[in-house]
């Protein structure tokens, strides 16, 4: 299953691919950067509800988008992170910068 997205008032919710590795990461990154630029996105929410596998390539994708969004005065949040993916994210220390949220509404309320 590949990436789908929804945009509401310059907030974008991206439902990520089933598997995120180095092979998929480049494609995801290019697609996201294009969508962010085209729609002047302010808040980017990564939705992991379809994602069953992620390695450290995914950390690179999130960190890269975080830096980009911050530079433009925006922000990034995560939802529906399963426990296996959470263990990879914890290792990287990314939670100092980007947080998990209960729902899209919760993320938007706190980030906008």
């Amino acid at each position: 299953m590949s990436l789908t997205y929804e945009i509401k008032h310059r907030n974008m919710i991206v439902r990520l691919d089933a598997e995120i590795d180095h092979h998929k990461a480049e494609e995801i990154r290019d697609r996201l950067d294009q969508l962010i630029a085209m729609n002047s996105i302010k808040v980017l929410i990564f939705d992991f509800s379809n994602t069953v596998f992620m390695d450290s390539s995914g950390i690179g994708v999130i960190m890269g988008r975080y830096k980009k969004m911050k530079q433009m005065g925006g922000d990034v949040g995560l939802i529906n992170v399963n426990s296996n993916i959470q263990r990879v994210l914890k290792l990287s220390g990314i939670y100092r910068l980007v947080k998990n949220y209960e729902s899209v509404q919760d993320a938007i309320k706190r980030l906008v």
Partner: protein
């Protein structure tokens, strides 16, 4: 008596094969009836090592990646080998957040992930010849089941 089983695969250093490699190893490990978490640990570690072989070992050049797996009782050994350019400083390469390819948005967490998710990780590398990553993990789920059976 010891239970032993082994397998070998060889494939092109193409990123499409990262998924193939981790699924093959997971299928081989499945005979030990691992927990979902153990299986996720192994798949993630394989993915990291194979990605390293492809993007660092061979960079843009085509080559082969070799995986050797062995099960001895409740322990799984995995070796991931490439005949690429090798690592000049292994200690540095293993540091969290170290990456030789920051422009590719690599997080530099590959070895850190392998070390966290496997019981033991060893790296052998010769510049110009290639790199072998050797990993080992004891499946505690299986050990627990056996001990339970023993106590009954």
């Amino acid at each position: 008596m010891k239970f032993e089983n082994e397998m070998k695969i060889e494939f092109d250093s193409k990123s499409q094969n990262e998924g193939f490699a981790r699924v093959v190893v997971a299928a081989f490990v499945a005979q030990l009836d691992p927990t979902i978490e153990e299986l996720a640990d192994i798949k993630t570690s394989i993915s990291e090592a194979v990605t390293n072989a492809i993007i660092h070992g061979y960079e843009m050049y085509p080559g082969k990646v070799y995986i050797y797996c062995k099960i001895v009782d409740d322990v799984i050994y995995v070796e991931i080998e490439d005949h690429g350019k090798g690592i000049s400083n292994i200690e540095e390469a293993r540091q969290p957040l170290f990456t030789s390819k920051p422009n590719m948005e690599r997080s530099g967490m590959g070895f850190t992930v392998m070390e966290a998710f496997m019981d033991n990780v060893e790296v052998e590398s010769v510049e110009g010849c290639g790199t072998t990553v050797m990993m080992k993990k004891t499946l505690l789920s299986l050990r627990a089941t056996k001990e339970e059976a023993c106590n009954e």
